[in-house]
Symmetry: none
Subunit: 460 residues, 2 copies
C-alpha cells in the first residue's frame, strides 16, 4: 500500500496543475450538436490525444462520419494484471440560454460557496471533469512508477447527440477495444459525501401503435353512437395495461424480474428517501407506481410501462365534432433483470391485437428495444471497487440503479462481451445541460483519488 | 299553380348562374374555429348581405363578439301570408388534413361521376350549398313576381363552433327575428331519391379537459415508475365513460331519455337499414354503440359520448422518453329527449374530478351546450311540407331524426317560441367535415325547386 500512498500524494500535489489541464479542455467549446463547432470538437479530440500521449499512452484521433474518436493503449509494467477499457466523452451540450450564465460558459472558474469550492463551466460535470478524474489518476501512476492495469482509452465526441457513429466504430475496432471489463465515469454519487457504483441500468422497449378504424374522419353527429371511435379503443388499451395496484398486466411481463438481494434492499431502505422528497422538485408528492414498492425500487429496479405521447382527432383551438379515422400512441417499457425485450414487445402487440374490437386494426412501429444491464452482484471487480471507494470516502458506496439507459454500456456488453463498472462523482444539483453547470472541487479531487484506489485494487 | 310552374322554370333557367354564385361563396375560407380566418368570416357575411340585397331584401351585417350575423327582411306582396324565419350558417369546418384533398378545398369545382354531377369544396354541403338553395328559390320568386311568404333571413358564422354569440343576439333582437315558424336547411335526405324532414335533433355538450400533473415534462428514465402520467389518467377516464354494453356510465346520464313513439319506430324499422349498410361506406361493418339498439336509434334517438380529439406528450417522428406535464382531450355528448345539458356537463366534470389520482388537477373548458329538440308530430306546416316534397321528388319524405345538433333550432324554440321545419338535401356520403366534401348537383337544383314548392304551399 506504500505505492498507493505515493500515488495519492502525487494526486494531491498535482491538484493545481490538474485543474489547469481541465480548464484548458473546458475552454474548447466542443458542442457536438452544432455544426459550427465541428472544428472545436476536433480540437478537443486532438488535445485529449496529446494529453494521453503525455502520460505514456499511444493515442490517436480517429475520424468518423461525425466527430472523431480517440483510442489509446497503455500497458502496465506487470503483464499479469487486468485490462480495462475506459470510456468518456468530450462533447458538451450547447450553453443556451447564455444570458442565464453568471460567467461565460467556456471560461471556467472556481466559485467559492458556503459548502465548498465548485468548478463552473459548460461540461465540467458532463463529462469533461469526470473523464479527467480518470486521466489524472493515470498521470499520477505514470509519474510514480507506472500503471497498475493495462488500459485502453476510448473517448467519443457524439454522446450528446445519441452517439450515431458509435455502433459502426465498435464493430470495426472490436479487437482493439476489447478488454476484460469497461470503466465508465458518466454517473453520479448518492450525495456529496456518499459515493455510488451504478450496477443496474433499465432497458427500454419503444413501441408506437396506430389504431385504424373508419376509412376517413367522420362527423360525430351523423356517425356518433354507431361508428367505432379509435380514441376510445386506444384509451381502453392504455387503461388496461395497468391494474389497480399499478402493475403491468401483460402476460409474462414480470418474467425475469427478481426481488433485490436482501443486502441491496436493506441498503436502499437505509437511505430513507421518501417519495415526496424525490418528487417534490417537480411539483408531485405521491409515488404513482407499483403499490408496496419503495421509491428507489420504482425508479431503479422495477419495470414500467408509460405512454410518452398520444394523438388523435382534432387538437387545435375550439372544438370539432369529428370521429377520427385513427389514433396513435407512443409507448415505452423500462425493463429490469432478465426481461426479454423481444418478448415484451411481442406480449404488448398481442395484447393490443386482442383488445381490438370489430373493424379496427393496429399498425405497429418499433423505435428500438434493449434489455436491462446488471453488473453481477457477485462480481469480484464490484467487491474490490466497493472497498476502494469506502477507503477514500469513509462511507460504504451506494449500489445504485439508474432508471435511464446508457447506450454505450449496452453496446460494450452486446458487441464486446464486457461488463461495465459505472463510477462517477456527479451530483444531482450539478446543472448538467443547464446554465452554470458545476462540478464540486471535492468530486474532482477525491474522484481522482478514487480512481487511483480502484485501479490499484483491480490489479491486486 | 301556374305561378309556381313559372318559378320552377326560372329556377331551371338560373342553374348555371346560381352555381356561379355558390362558387363565389365557397371560395371564401370562412373557418370559424380558427382566429386566423376571422377576416374571411366577415367577408362571407358581407358577400351574403349583398346577395340578399340583390334580391330585394333589406339585409345588413351585424357585428357580434365573435363572427358577424346577417339579418334581412323581405315582404310578400300579399299581407295575409305566413311569416317565416330562414336560418343558415356561412362558416365551415377546417379543411385539415389538407393532403387528402384531391383539389384545393376553397377552389370549388364540378366533378363528373357515374351517378351524376357533384359540387366539391369545403362547405358545399355544410352549409353553404344548402343555404343557397333557399336563397336561389327566393331569387326565382323575386324574378317572377314576388315572394309567397314574408321572410326574415338570419345567417350566422359560428355554427361550427357551437354558436357562442347566438343566445345573446337572439335575446337582443327577438322582436326583429320572431316569425310564425322557422325554416332551417342544414339537414339531409334519406337517400339520393328520397327526401326527408327532420323532426328530431340531438343536443350537444362540448367539454375539453386538460389533466395537469408534474410542473414540467419529465425524463421517463429518471421518473418513470414514480411520477404520475397524465396520459394514463386521461385514458382511464375515457375508458371508464362506457360500460361493456356501450352505455354511458355517468350517473343520471339517461334521465330524460325515452323510447320512441311506436309510429315512428315502425317507420324506421320499415326502412330496413342494416348497420353494415349504414357503416359500409366508411369502411366499417359492426355498429359500436349501445347493444340491443337498431342502427337508426343509435344515431338518431339515443345519446352518446365521444372523444373528438386527444393530445399529450411527444407526437413527432421517432421517440422521446418523456412523461408529459399535461394531457388533454375534447369530449362531446349527443343528447336526446329532455336530457339536461347542464346536468350532463356537471356529471361529466364530477366524474373526471372523482377519477383524479393524487397530484393531478383537471382544467375544464366548455365549448357549448344545447338540449335535444323535437317537432310536434301534429304540426300543420309539417303536413304541407310533406306534400310539397312529395310533389317534387315523387316519394313520401322520411320523418327523420338527426344525430347532429343544430343549436339554433333549440334557441328558436326556447327564446322565440318558434317551431322549426328542418328540410335539407345533404346526403350521407357528402363527406361533411372531411376532405373532398361534396354536394350533389341534383340536391342543389331540386333542393332549390323544393323550397319553391314549400314556400308556395305554406302561403296557400
Amino acid at each position: 500500500m506504500a505505492a498507493l500512498d505515493t500515488v495519492l500524494a502525487k494526486i494531491d500535489a498535482n491538484l493545481e496543475s490538474a485543474l489547469g489541464r481541465l480548464f484548458k479542455l473546458v475552454e474548447i467549446p466542443s458542442i457536438s450538436t452544432d455544426p459550427a463547432y465541428a472544428g472545436d470538437c476536433t480540437k478537443a479530440a486532438e488535445w485529449l490525444a496529446a494529453e494521453l500521449n503525455s502520460i505514456g499512452c499511444e493515442a490517436s484521433v480517429r475520424p468518423t462520419a461525425g466527430h472523431p474518436m480517440i483510442v489509446g493503449q497503455a500497458k502496465a509494467k506487470r503483464p499479469d494484471v487486468p485490462h480495462v477499457l475506459f470510456y468518456g466523452h468530450y462533447d458538451v451540450q450547447p450553453p443556451d440560454p447564455l444570458d442565464l450564465w453568471e460567467t461565460p460558459p467556456f471560461e471556467p472558474r472556481i466559485a467559492e460557496t458556503k459548502t465548498g469550492k465548485q468548478i463552473v463551466g459548460r461540461g465540467v460535470a458532463d463529462d469533461k471533469g469526470q473523464l479527467m478524474t480518470f486521466l489524472e489518476a493515470c498521470r499520477a501512476f505514470k509519474e510514480t512508477g507506472g500503471l497498475p492495469c493495462h488500459i485502453t482509452f476510448f473517448l467519443e465526441g457524439e454522446e450528446e447527440t445519441g452517439s450515431p457513429s458509435l455502433p459502426a466504430f465498435l464493430a470495426e475496432n472490436a479487437a482493439e477495444l476489447k478488454a476484460d471489463m469497461a470503466l465508465v465515469c458518466d454517473t453520479g454519487m448518492w450525495d456529496k459525501e456518499t459515493p455510488a457504483i451504478t450496477i443496474m441500468l433499465r432497458g427500454l422497449v419503444l413501441e408506437e401503435v396506430v389504431i385504424h378504424a373508419a376509412s376517413r374522419d367522420l362527423h360525430s353527429g351523423i356517425f356518433g353512437g354507431a361508428a367505432v371511435n379509435p380514441i376510445h379503443v386506444l384509451a381502453r388499451i392504455i387503461a388496461g395495461l395497468h391494474d389497480d395496484k399499478g402493475r403491468v398486466t401483460l402476460p409474462g411481463f414480470y418474467n425475469g424480474v427478481t426481488e433485490l438481494p436482501e443486502e441491496i434492499a436493506e441498503q436502499w431502505r437505509a437511505l430513507r428517501l421518501r417519495g415526496s422528497d424525490f418528487l417534490g422538485g417537480v411539483g408531485l408528492s405521491v409515488p404513482a407506481g407499483e403499490q408496496g414498492r419503495d421509491i428507489l425500487e420504482m425508479v431503479w429496479s422495477r419495470p414500467t410501462c408509460d405512454v410518452n405521447g398520444i394523438l388523435g382527432g382534432y387538437t387545435g383551438k375550439g372544438s370539432k365534432t369529428v370521429l377520427p379515422a385513427q389514433a396513435s400512441a407512443k409507448f415505452s417499457f423500462r425493463l429490469v433483470g432478465s426481461q426479454d425485450p423481444d418478448k415484451i414487445a411481442g406480449a404488448f402487440r398481442a395484447f393490443v391485437k386482442e383488445s381490438l374490437p370489430a373493424d379496427c386494426r393496429a399498425e405497429f412501429i418499433s423505435h428500438g428495444a434493449s434489455g436491462a444491464l446488471q453488473l453481477p452482484f457477485s462480481s469480484q471487480a464490484l467487491s474490490l471497487a466497493r472497498r476502494a471507494l469506502e477507503a477514500e470516502w469513509g462511507k460504504e458506496p451506494v449500489l445504485a440503479g439508474c432508471g435511464g439507459s446508457i447506450p454505450v454500456v449496452g453496446a460494450f456488453k452486446q458487441d464486446l462481451g464486457m461488463d461495465t463498472l459505472m463510477i462517477g462523482f456527479g451530483l444531482e444539483d450539478d446543472r448538467m445541460h443547464s446554465p452554470n453547470e458545476k462540478y464540486e472541487l471535492s468530486s474532482f479531487h477525491k474522484g481522482t483519488r478514487s480512481w487511483a484506489r480502484v485501479l490499484n485494487a483491480l490489479a491486486l
